[in-house]
Symmetry: C2
Subunit: 540 residues, 2 copies
Amino acid sequence: MQGLMSQYPLTLTHIFNRAERLFADKGVATVQAGGIDRITYGEWAQRTRKLATVLDELGISPDGRVATFAWNTARHLELYFAAPCSGRVLHTLNIRLFPDDIVYIADHAEDEVVFVDRSLLGVFWPLVDRLSTVKHVIVMDDGVPEEVPDDPRVQDYETLLAAASPAEFPVLEDENQAAAMCYTSGTTGHPKGVVYSHRSTVLHSMGALVVDAAAVSEKDRVMPVVPMFHANAWGLCQAAVMAGANLVMPGPKMQPAAIAELMEGEKVTLAAGVPTIWMGVLPELKGRDLSSLRDIVCGGSAVPKSLSEAYREQVGLPILQAWGMTETSPVATTGRIKSQFADASDEELADLRAAQGTPIPLVELRIADPATGEELPWDGEARGELQAIGPWIARAYYNDERSDDSFTEDGWLRTGDVATISPNGYVRLVDRTKDLVKSGGEWISSVELENAIMAHPKIAEAAVIGIPDEKWSERPLACVVPENGEEVTLDELREFLAERVPKWWLPNDLEIIEEVPKTSVGKFSKKTLREQFAERKATA
Amino acid sequence: MQGLMSQYPLTLTHIFNRAERLFADKGVATVQAGGIDRITYGEWAQRTRKLATVLDELGISPDGRVATFAWNTARHLELYFAAPCSGRVLHTLNIRLFPDDIVYIADHAEDEVVFVDRSLLGVFWPLVDRLSTVKHVIVMDDGVPEEVPDDPRVQDYETLLAAASPAEFPVLEDENQAAAMCYTSGTTGHPKGVVYSHRSTVLHSMGALVVDAAAVSEKDRVMPVVPMFHANAWGLCQAAVMAGANLVMPGPKMQPAAIAELMEGEKVTLAAGVPTIWMGVLPELKGRDLSSLRDIVCGGSAVPKSLSEAYREQVGLPILQAWGMTETSPVATTGRIKSQFADASDEELADLRAAQGTPIPLVELRIADPATGEELPWDGEARGELQAIGPWIARAYYNDERSDDSFTEDGWLRTGDVATISPNGYVRLVDRTKDLVKSGGEWISSVELENAIMAHPKIAEAAVIGIPDEKWSERPLACVVPENGEEVTLDELREFLAERVPKWWLPNDLEIIEEVPKTSVGKFSKKTLREQFAERKATA
């Protein structure tokens, strides 16, 4: 028997119409070179409709890819809606990727046009002749006096908009139609493309409005510090438009002092960024009035307990950790404290906040043995690969043969993260699957071992990789960066670790290195270390 | 181009699994004859799985209708999930309908089994031999010593559950599969059946978790006073299970004093009921500790400004009005105050709260001229029929030829309500379309005219209906119930109204009546009045 409910499709046009009709007086503040630009959703909606006409007039295909190379701005938000609401596909290019990767993904997605912030022309323009499908480069003038190339492909955003009439968006019948794509920079091989649908984006936005998730409401002033080219700024832009919340966009001014000033000046209620951002911003918040602030959301990599506690002590607000990845739209868990912990001590709460939190509605999680795929219990002890499924979780990569490796036969995403899940549903990441060290049939968490090593007062940074061992299959190699001028020996390290980790985790091998190599987005690149020490064998 | 997101269907099984896994320690408190029964979601989930086995063992068809005739209880919540999660369809029978209507809808839906609270056997059992498709009557013993009939159709709920093993729920591939049905008692003809899908129910539940809607969270203790047989208790039961909120169920104890005691004793945070309930409960709340309470939700019919203000003055919390109907799952609007009114006066706020509020995400509304169907502006002045569309809005009635009258060609629900919508999206109901009086090509709102009449100090109740007029097509007839012992004349009434309504609204016809006839759910029955005065013609 079928339900008799409206076959109303879930599309971004609904979110757009909602803001245009219900929240015309709310809007977006964007930092530009000359100061703060303000626009209401009423004006924004008119401009977004004109932008759709511009896409038509540029001759972009009905489902053509519309690329952006831009900071967080109101104009970027116009593109976020004009592309999908006109049936096209938004493609946010990550400005921080290596040039070869940018060229690869623009070609792979078959981008037809790129919208570039003027301040980013210096990064973007040198690549343009390598992009085989891009016919137009539209420059969005943010007041930074980069030279605009005299080239037939180049046009000015505002000039085009001024000449266009506002479009009526077509009715999109199929909610599974693509709305946007974003490439994720794997640590091996080319980046892989994730394709969001209208349905997934609308549902993810609803998720962000849920109280126990990000709780975005009409009363909020939401500041995504996380870039709009990085996993959709965690969906906060679409969520704010849906809720009618004001948006505060930092534009190109991503320096800690500028962020701190904006938080106070714009009375931001919810701000979201990666740990590095919040580490930098904290000292700049001293003495500021942050009474409007209700949530500092942090994700992208694990949030150190010390950072959250430092915020709690100085700002009066601990960090709210969230977990997800490009493939999960991205929000899958949030670290809200359940009511059962109402009487927990500060220390217990700090420990709980250091976990990645519990799944939000419509997301399902499980952990599985990395070798056998067997599902593991939620006992807070068993470590397994974290797998996810739900309406905003990817089921495949775009035109990519590597999809089979990343999804299980029953359709779950293999996140590559290793986690425990407590009986009450708190996920705690302990490693990446490919970084686990398999020793004698058991798994050593490289992250936990690194954390133990970095607790040593003479050690600044450390990374652990597995190296081949005849008897145990693999053994850990500790790659260590000593504090300035210090020396560290293997014996001293083993002695320090003896009380901190199981005995069979103790490394027999130590390498002193100058620094831990990093990926383009600032994470430890163990791939580089593995290449560097490819010949190394474990000491018996 | 298609999105590459998981084809994960939106089903109630997800909500069920979520509570079972993440919120096993939270649960439901139910008032029964012997006191308060408490059950955790962990226990509830096990019982719900056993109940699915019971449905199998009773031989209920794979998509058979499972009827309930019951108060708000944890057992009723077991049925809310066991039926749809096993692929069947829950059918909540309204215990307050006239017997003929109950018989009609049970037959029309082809109910195979009815689960009856023991305390309701006195109402239900006299009908049983008229029900042509019902093979089983399962009695849920709530401790009220009604006689249980000695009949082969009758079995005891707990006995069946005790003998059953917990079922694994099947994977439901189609989110548009029917999950539940509920009949709406129109004022003309038989009740009409609305069929909810898994998708509509899941999305409506998400809607209830949104901050600017009901904002149900894990920290809540939710008390649906609105019955589970009345438009799904406004979806609060499924929403609470999804959020992991505790539920407080009043069972058969619906008296104001019992409700008030429960609100205090169970530290209820959110309570929901129709205006009549809250009128009765208010005096009982005097002197009680209601510090946990954050929202008193009210709907079903317009909330008088005076009632909301009385709550604000006595309890410190105005009433939160919501609007919807069985066909809208039911929540379509909520009366949250937008941030633009942060500086409004108490009077302005009271006036705003007397409106039905703004549409929640995924619901679209419009108003249309009742005669021409032309869409009308959102200017707070134009009065038109309120129409709705969205993923939890019905598109047809179940096996009913009257569907065509209630839905537009482009798929919108014709609510039959007449409303204005302000530029900022606040809906304000002014009448029912069928109660409008069409005079000289213009519409007179019967409700507004009634309110003006009832403001007269000598008048207790009044209802206005249209009667034929040769010149004006229709004119209003004022049907008036004077206060005890008072007399009211037409001249006196016209004089009183002259300053309160447009001149052409002034009635030329008055009927003094003993009381305004009511429907089975307590609303003014203008249908009865129209029948009573069918021969009446307007005075020139």
